[in-house]
Each structure stands twice: as structure tokens, then as C-alpha cells.
Amino acid sequence: MTTRAQILRVLPYALLLALALVPQVYPAAQVLLTLALAKSLAVLGVIVLLQAGQVSFGHALFFAIAAYAAAFLGNSMGGGEIVLSLVLGTVCSAAVALVVGVFIVRYRHIFFGMLNLALSMIFFSFLEKFYHVTGGSDGLSVARPRVLGMALERGPFELVLFYGTLGLVIGALVLTHRFLSSPVGQMMRAIKTNEVRLEYLGVSARNVLLAGYVLSAALCGLGGVLMSTAQGIVTPEYAWWVRSGEFVFIAILGGAGSVGGAVVGTLAYEAVKTYAAAFAADIWQMILGVVLLVVILFAPNGLIGLFRSWTRRIGSAPERTGDRAGDRVGAGE
């Protein structure tokens, strides 16, 4: 057991523990973290597709669909129930992904990205145009839902939401990691390198990609419901292309090779953005741009990749071959 392997093994747990302690240690960051964790689910969705080498510039679509579905449900039930909202929102996103996916998975690369963008923009326009139903650009307010039938005050609710979100993120990470390591997940990663061979193995690349597409949409949907619940409002901006771009941005920042990149990337991104907006309100975009450039030019595998090469160095040379799984930027740790 090398130092490096130890660090790699311990670190994710240490990070999760640190996150779990935030409400006690630094309560001011609790809500911000809830939002960041919700967003990291959507980033995870984008990472799933990146395994197949496909990048969607419109995944905010699924983020928004679920958030609006949950908002309508909640408002029609006078607040609603958080569990029901999560299930309904996620199912709605997945169902829409299944329907449009049948068409979308026929395309690759720029066409894949642009068609997703187009879908999200159409939905965005729809949200703005049908303002009688959707509240237009002001959006819909989301009443605080009950939690398993209990109506909670703001404080306890936010705490429950934080731990609930953290739990869902951990669950989603484990599940997605297992999916990506499974035969179908590996077939999806095979789409990136050789679709011809995949077809010559008797596998429909489109069906495999569709499975990934639906999963990624479901993850985005889950994130969308949590985000709108935490914010108490959902606006068309949820579907805006800049938000889709943000998901991709964060995925690369964290490291698209690994599911953990979603969480690490989102936390880093929100930290940079929050502090840049607070202390350099005029040039926060520029700061984010520079961060992105530096990451891509000097750490193309993202923060996770950077961390791995760092532990590799301090972990010293011996036992190189013994720990192959850690060596590769694989489907995650």
C-alpha cells in the first residue's frame, strides 16, 4: 500500500465528512453548498455523456423540465411533498429524454451539441411565451414542500434539504460510477473511440447512447428539482444555454474522466464564482475564463486529474503496475 493509494482511498471520505460537518462548522455556507451539490448532479449528467465523447450544449433543458414539473406539482398541492417532487421531476426529465433521445442519439459531436442546444432554447422560449402558465421570465415560486408529510420551518427544512441533497449526491455518484464501470457503461465509453467496432460487435451504439442520455437527463432533473426547492423559485433561466455551458465548464474543470469530478468541480467553481463576484464584481467573468484556460492548458484532466498526478509524484515510483485502476483516468474512483 503506497502513500498515494492511501491518499486516494481516504480523500473522498474525508471530503464527504468535511461536507457533512459544514452545517455545524460553517453554517453560512450551508445553503450555498446545497445549491452547489444540486448543480453537481447536473454536471454528473453531463459527465456521463462526455464518456461517450458527446457534449450537450443544452442539458439545462432537463434541469428546467424537472424543476418546472416539481413546481407545478407543489403549487397544485399547496406545497407538495419533497419526495414526490423529486420522483416526478426526475421521471419527467427522463421521459422527455427518452422521447427526444430517439432522435438526438442519431447525431454526433457538433450536431449532437447543437440539437440539444436548440431543444433547450425552444423550451426556454416556450417558458417565456406561455407566461400565463409559466410565469414568464419571472418564473414560478416554489412553495416549501413537506418532508415525508411534515411541514418544517425554514431552519430545519434547509438542514434536511442539505443532508438530503448530500445523500442523493453520494447515491448518484455510486450509482453512476457503477453504471459507467458496467458493460453498457463501457460500451458507451467505446462510442467515443470506435463506433464502427461497436456496431461490428452487434451493439447498437444509438441504444447505448440513449441509455446514457436518459440517465444523464435523470441526473440533471434530480439536480433541477433540488435547486428550485432550495431557491424557492424556478425561472426560464434554468433552461438558458449559458447554464448548459456552465455544466460543461464545470465538468471539464473538475475532470470529465471521473464521477468525482462533478462534485469537486462544482465546489471549486462556486467558490471561485462567489468570491470573484463578491470581490471583483466587474471582472468575475474574466476570472472564470482565466481559470478555465489554465485548467485546460495545464491540467486537461481537470482538478481530479491534477490531484492524481500530484499524489503520483508524492507517492513515489514503486508499485507502478500494481494499482492500475488508479493510474487510468477511468470511470472514477
Binding site: 419571472d138 462556486e270 464584481a281 468575475w284
Partner: protein
């Protein structure tokens, strides 16, 4: 006996004081949200500059109750989450005494419930949606200016008073909540006050549209008597310029409720004879305030600092600052001269009357400000190289604001054509 009475009086006073008086802070911290990036920075930038100037001036005169004021600015352009996160950070970490939020109505809607949760005085210093206080019952949020309903209603009244015989109207608004809502209010009011007007076209080009050529061609073919546009910023500038370039302004009267904020930029592109609103009584040549030493000095200093004359967000900012100052002073007075708690300052906002750069504004019981409305018709003058307002009319805020407890859409439907004559109006030339 006498000493005893004094002693017990002092004891009572001390007890009361220790119960109610807060420790006098080193400074009053404000958090101000405004667009510093994006298209709406046309409002955020002047407002920020104005806030800095006014706070500096306020502090030079001893601040509020002897306590200096400081402000932290937050960019609304960074998006909804960043705004909410930063709002929380300012309240919970920086421990601000009051928040001024925001320019965007969408952001006001988001921030309102949050302020209730955080129990922080929240002054909605610029947003215009009438829904805020009609659909919510907030304790901590107040609006120190009018809202969309009086602004649109006054516009309809001005139009009917100056151009009573028009028959057709078209609308070109930005495709977002403000564009839609303002048209809903305007058209509802117009239908009640002049039922025979025909709406010949409704265009909602997307926000930030760079080109209105097709809309203008169509409008030229339709030749409506009046064209309403509640657009602002670059969108309004582009529309007015393209309309003027192609002669649309010769055949139709433009009604532009937000154009006061574009007058200087538009220069001579905005011809004479079109109706311009000011979202209140906000105008750098305010008919009652010009000649007032402070007003003129501020206008000159602002022009000197920013290169432009103050526009309505500057007035809005002055009102928000005036309100917080007045609220603190009222709360201090109510507290027997002791420093008030934050809750006492919030209490003091109720029914408060204050004046920024314009006329007095009063906070109603539903926390909505009542503000008079100034409109005018463009005219050119040799003194300025851009259009000024002539034929100005000031509409009484109480008369045009939806009564407390009523929903604007419903209230407007109760109006009838004789309402036009019933509203008190002052004219200036």
C-alpha cells in the same frame, strides 16, 4: 421623595433603554444589488455611481444618526444563484443592516421570501413588478418607488389627455416579464378608458434583439396612430433609431414609458412630439426641483463624474437612501434617542415619508411606495443636443396606484372613461 422619583424614573428609563436600545454600531452596512454586467448595466452603473456619491455626501454630513454608511455592491448579472448566494453571504457573514435589491423584477421576486427568512430589511429599490406586494405579505421588504401599474396607468392618461382622438395602436415590447406585464396593464387600462381603440399589432421581439427592420416594415404598412414600447436600454435605442431612420416616427406617435433613461444617448435620433415617461418623477430637469441648490449641484456633480445626466435609477437610488436615513431617524426618535434595533428600523419603515431627488414618496401599509408620475412630450432645444421633455404633466400617485389589498388586473377593470378627468394632474411647460 423627589430624589426617589427621579431615581425610579431613571431606573425605568434604564430598564426600558436596556430592553430596546441596541449598541450604536461603527457603521451602517448596506448591501446593494445592481446589474454591473449585461444589458441592464445601463441602469446599474449610474445607480452605483450615484450611491457612491450620495453615501459619501451623507457621511460627510455625519452619516445616519452619527454613524457612517458603507455599501457593498453585488452584480445581478452573475445570475440568480450567485445573487442569492451573495445575498445570504452579505446578510449572514458580513452582517449588513439592510439590503437594497434589486433592479430585476425576477430578482426581487426571488429575494423577497429570502429576506423574510433572514429577517433583514430589504428595500426593493428599482424593480417594477406590481405583483410583489399584491401577491405577498412581506414584513421586511419595502418598495421606495412606484410600480408598473401607476407607471402604465399614468402613461395611458397622458396619452388620452394629449392625443384623445387616436384610433389604432401597436405594441413592440421586449419578450420577457416586464414587456408582457406592462402591455397587459397598459392594454387593460386603455380598454377601460377608451374602449374604441383598435390594437393592430403586438410584437414581442426577443430581449436584446439587434434588428427591428421587419417589425418596422410591418408597422409602416399598418400605420397605427400610436406605437407603444416599454423597452429600455440598447433595445429601445435600436428600435427608436431604426424607426426614425425609416420615417416611422413621422406617421405614428411613439409612447415610450422608459425613454427618459435613453434621451441623452439617443441624441437627435428621437424626434419631437413623442411621449416619454420617467417611471415616477425622475428627470434631470425636474420642473419643480431645478433651481433647488442641492438638486442642481448633484446633477452637475453627477454629470461631471460619469459624463452623463442622472436617469431614473439614480433617482430610485436616492429614494432608497433617503428612506433608510429617514427610517433610522424615525426609529431613533421613537426609541427616545437611543440606537434602534433592526426590527425597530423595519417598524419605522411603515408609513414613512421621505424625499430623494424628486417629490415626496410615502410607504403605504402594504409596503408599496406611492409616487407621483411625470410624463412629457419630446421637444428639441438649443441648450442640449438631445430631446427634452415639454408639455409635462404630473399625475397624483394616490389616484393612479392600485388601492391596498387589490390586484391591479382587477382594479383596472373597474375603471371607466370618466376616470381620465377625475385624476388630479399638474401641468408644466
Amino acid at each position: 421623595m423627589k430624589t426617589l422619583m427621579i431615581a425610579s424614573a431613571m431606573a425605568v428609563a434604564l430598564a426600558a433603554g436596556s430592553a430596546a436600545a441596541a449598541e450604536k454600531p461603527d457603521e451602517i452596512r448596506l448591501g446593494i444589488t445592481a446589474f454591473l454586467t449585461g444589458p441592464a448595466s445601463v441602469f446599474g452603473e449610474p445607480a452605483k455611481a450615484a450611491a457612491e456619491m450620495m453615501i459619501e455626501e451623507m457621511n460627510a454630513e455625519g452619516g445616519i444618526g452619527g454613524v457612517p454608511v458603507s455599501a457593498t455592491f453585488v452584480d445581478e448579472g452573475a445570475g440568480g444563484e450567485a445573487l442569492l448566494a451573495e445575498y445570504r453571504r452579505l446578510v449572514e457573514d458580513v452582517d449588513v443592516d439592510a439590503m437594497f435589491a434589486s433592479i430585476s423584477s425576477g430578482n426581487c421576486t426571488k429575494v423577497g421570501p429570502l429576506a423574510e427568512d433572514l429577517k433583514v430589511l430589504n428595500i426593493m429599490w428599482d424593480c417594477g413588478t406590481q405583483r410583489i406586494f399584491e401577491e405577498n405579505d412581506f414584513r421586511y421588504s419595502f418598495r421606495t418607488q412606484a410600480n408598473a401599474t401607476p407607471e402604465m396607468l399614468a402613461t395611458v392618461l397622458y396619452l388620452l389627455k394629449t392625443k384623445p382622438d387616436f384610433k389604432t395602436i401597436a405594441v413592440v415590447n421586449q419578450d420577457y416579464a416586464w414587456g408582457r406585464d406592462s402591455w397587459a396593464i397598459f392594454s387593460t387600462a386603455l380598454k377601460q378608458l377608451k374602449p374604441d381603440v383598435e390594437v393592430v399589432a403586438e410584437f414581442f421581439p426577443k430581449f436584446g434583439a439587434p434588428d427591428f427592420s421587419t417589425e418596422i416594415s410591418r408597422l409602416q404598412a399598418l400605420r397605427p396612430d400610436v406605437i407603444l414600447s416599454t423597452s429600455w436600454g440598447g433595445d429601445l435605442d435600436t428600435f427608436v433609431r431604426q424607426a426614425a431612420q425609416r420615417g416611422l416616427t413621422n406617421n405614428s406617435t411613439l409612447v415610450l414609458p422608459l425613454a427618459e433613461s435613453s434621451l441623452e444617448r439617443l441624441g437627435d435620433a428621437l424626434p419631437e412630439g413623442h411621449i416619454v415617461g420617467t417611471r415616477g418623477d425622475h428627470y434631470f430637469l425636474h420642473p419643480e426641483k431645478t433651481g433647488n441648490e442641492d438638486f442642481d449641484a448633484f446633477v452637475a456633480a453627477f454629470k461631471e463624474k460619469t459624463g452623463a445626466y442622472p436617469i431614473y435609477p439614480v433617482f430610485h437610488m436616492s429614494q432608497a437612501l433617503a428612506a433608510i436615513k429617514a427610517a433610522y431617524e424615525k426609529a431613533i426618535a421613537a426609541n427616545g434617542g437611543d440606537w434602534p434595533s433592526r426590527e425597530q428600523v423595519v417598524d419605522a419603515m411603515a408609513g414613512l415619508t421621505f424625499a430623494g431627488l424628486g417629490r415626496d414618496v410615502t410607504i403605504r401599509e402594504d409596503n408599496q411606495g406611492v409616487e407621483d408620475q411625470l410624463l412629457g412630450t419630446t421637444m428639441h432645444s438649443d441648450d442640449y443636443d438631445f430631446a427634452l421633455l415639454g408639455d409635462m404633466m404630473m399625475f397624483d400617485g394616490d389616484a393612479v396606484t392600485t388601492p391596498v389589498g387589490q390586484i391591479s388586473a382587477d382594479w383596472l377593470k373597474t375603471l371607466s372613461p370618466d376616470f381620465v378627468e377625475s385624476v388630479q394632474v399638474e401641468t408644466f411647460n
